[in-house]
Amino acid sequence: MGVINYRPLEKLNLTLSGSYTASDGGMDALSDYSTLCSQLADMVSYSYDLHTVHTYSDLDITQKELALQAAYHLDDNFTLGAGISYLRYDDGEPYLYDGSGDAYYVSIGMSYTP
């Protein structure tokens, strides 16, 4: 995560901020799958395949945010502002459904301070 403030002109202020978050997790495989599956097959006559059970809780999430804000001071009372933000969520190991997506947000405005 970082923030940079830059004043290229006396009346113009720029702010660039960004963050990056990565989350990764998983389980080791359970021991002795073959014996377990054959025991279950003997008990209930069903064939269960448990070899991928340990992957159901895998976690691979990245989140990124980037924003640029600009403020231009017209005079002591009025300031023009503009900004753009971008957000991205990535699910690298989706289970059942993929929550990945992104959004952006653009704003313009004016500020008054008497």
Binding site: G2, R7, L30, L36, S100, A103
Partner: protein
């Protein structure tokens, strides 16, 4: 887009909705500000104030799924529109005001105002509203077939966005009585509303494992009222508060048409006497209305010899208004702290808590069998020609929550060197459950002894260090006695309909199950290095070792290593960076118990 009353429609935008939601609050703020400025006009002293007004327009758009990236923010295209921020403060003579208001969307706004008049009346009012985007489980994993047994799902609101709008209003008022120094009366009010829909799933048994999903309407309201007083006299400070809460779910519960529990192999309606939810349209996911009353009394005394005494008593009554069930809780706490001896800070604490939760008579619905060997009879009062073992399924649910908890402990801190402290603590907690046994022998009591030792020091300039060790030893932790793993036994012939019943197999279980450790140890260390003005590093390490060796069959052990580091660097006044990393490796050795659902 939103879904309401069976129709999809665009979010209403424009002046009408803005006025309904936000205008009353702007009017209130304007009134308060206008009132304050009017009073200032009365005499000659100039008011001191600052004000900032921001108005603008925002455009938002999204791609793919919005439920995670915009979980608490309205970032879809329909959120585009005007936004406004107003903030300021003002002071004149003995009146002080601080206010702020933010509008982004008719479901996303907040604001508040604080006022103080002559330090006699203090008021803090705030309101907020935002949306929470929930997940929608598409149940795609609930689809399979083995022989005649089928698992399938049906989503009656496929593709619907589940969104909850949460709004809250709070007001805290304190009146310091000028004619009684050290005395104040205070009042608080809070109202929280949650509106929208969430997913509600249920299951039909036996014909197939048929999982269905409906949208559950949420229209909850929680109202809190609190009133009390504080009185300081001599060396004593006394506080009393009364708290009342009402919770109501006004949203209609969903209904589901449960399948006829027909035998999947074609043997007909032979399960009717064993399934409560079957072949009928019934409501589910019911949420009861609740209310809570709580009385709190506290006493603090600054005694001689650098001694502080604190005592409190809390009594609360919580009632499930729909089921007419109540929980009474009484808690008494005492804490004494002393710093009389040079370099030593000693404290002792004692707590007694009594929880009494009502028992419940559970009246099991006992349908009559319509086919098969038991046709015309209930499972309990079965056909006399069948000799399987049964019992009256109605029972009294005695609460595992009812208990007495006693806690006694002490802490000691010693200043070893100028910037080095040693801390030692011990605590014993005893939990005695009134109606729940945690061992095969019928013991209802769990006892935990906790010891902790730590040191904080500043060995050199810019370095702060803390090391700690904690050990907790528990006898008879909370446990499900005989919860899994049936032992070997000979089943009666006759199958499920005239032989050994499922409850008899359950009675043969021998493994206790508990996620609570009998021994837990933790080693932790923190270090902060800030030798440079613009650079600092904080590192942390925790090692946690837990085990339970008092279960039969299912003993377990778990070890976690959790290191983390955080770096802050400010190369220039206008630039700053922060990087952090956390790693967690947990290894658990346990008996894995896999329940197999077969009928």
């Amino acid at each position: 887009m939103f879904y309401k009353n069976g129709h999809y429609g665009k979010r209403k935008r424009g002046l009408t909705m803005i006025c309904k939601k936000i205008l009353p609050k702007i009017v209130f703020l304007t009134f308060m500000c206008g009132l304050s400025f009017y009073s200032w006009a009365e005499d000659g002293e100039d008011p001191v104030y600052d004000l900032k007004i921001d108005v603008g327009y925002h455009y938002a758009d999204d791609d793919e799924s919005i439920s995670k990236v915009g979980e608490y923010n309205i970032l879809d295209h329909t959120s585009s529109g005007p936004d406004m921020n107003i903030s300021g403060r003002a002071q004149k003579n003995d009146l002080f005001l601080d206010f702020h208001s933010r509008y982004y969307h008719n479901d996303d706004f907040d604001g508040g105002i604080k006022g103080d008049y002559k330090r006699i009346i203090e008021e803090d009012f705030s309101y907020s509203s935002f949306e929470h985007f929930l997940d929608h489980d598409n149940m795609s994993n609930l689809c399979g077939k083995t022989g005649a047994v089928v698992v399938n799902h049906e989503d009656f609101n496929a593709g619907k966005d589940y969104i909850i709008r949460r709004s809250e209003e709070k007001s805290d008022t304190t009146i310091n009585l000028p004619f009684s120094p050290g005395t104040d009366v205070h009042f608080s009010y809070r109202r929280q509303k949650r509106e929208g829909h969430r997913q509600a799933m249920t299951l039909s048994h036996c014909g197939t494992c048929h999982v269905t999903s409906n949208a559950r309407e949420i229209n909850e309201e929680t109202e809190d009222y609190k009133a009390g007083f504080t009185k300081k006299f001599s060396i004593f400070t006394m506080v009393y508060d009364y708290f009342h809460r009402e919770f109501t779910e006004n949203g209609a519960p969903p209904t589901n048409t449960y399948d006829d529990p027909t035998h999947p192999g074609g043997s007909g309606d032979i399960f009717d006497d064993r399934i409560q939810y079957g072949d009928a349209t019934l409501v589910y996911d019911l949420v009861p209305s609740m209310k809570k009353d709580m009385h709190t009394a506290k006493l603090n005394a600054s005694l001689p010899a650098n001694t502080n005494f604190f005592a409190s008593y809390v009594f609360s009554n919580t009632e499930n208004k729909d089921a007419d069930l109540e929980t009474d809780t009484s808690t008494a706490t005492i804490k004494v702290t002393n710093q009389f001896f040079p370099g030593w800070r000693l404290s002792g604490h004692f707590k007694y808590q009594d929880i009494d939760n009502d028992d419940v008579f559970v009246d099991i619905i006992e349908p009559v069998s319509t086919a098969g060997l038991n046709s015309g009879y209930t499972w309990y009062l079965h056909n006399p020609a069948l000799d399987y073992d049964s019992f009256d399924p109605d029972y009294i649910r005695e609460s595992a929550l009812s208990r007495e908890v006693t806690t006694l402990g002490f802490d000691a801190r010693y200043q070893l060197l100028k910037k080095t402290f040693l801390i030692f603590g011990y605590e014993r907690e005893t939990v005695d459950r009134k109606d729940y046994a945690v061992t095969d022998d019928g013991d209802t009591e769990s006892t935990t002894d906790t010891c902790k030792l730590s040191m904080t020091t500043r060995p050199c300039r810019g370095v702060k260090l803390r090391l700690g060790y904690q050990l907790a030893d528990t006898d008879n932790p909370f446990n499900l006695v005989n919860g899994a793993c049936e032992s070997s036994f000979i089943a009666d012939n006759g199958g499920a309909f005239n032989g050994t019943q499922y409850w008899e197999r359950q009675n043969e279980r021998i493994a206790d199950l508990s996620n609570q450790p009998t021994l837990a140890q933790e080693i932790s260390g923190d270090m902060t290095w800030s030798a440079l003005r613009n650079f600092s590093v904080t590192a942390n390490y925790r090692f946690i070792d837990k085990e339970n060796d008092e279960t039969d069959v299912s003993d377990w052990q778990s070890q976690s290593h959790i290191p983390s580091i955080s770096i802050t660097y400010v190369p220039q006044p206008m630039i700053d960076f922060n990087v952090s990393y956390v790693f967690d490796r947990t290894k658990t050795e346990t008996l894995a118990n896999i329940p197999v659902f077969d009928g």
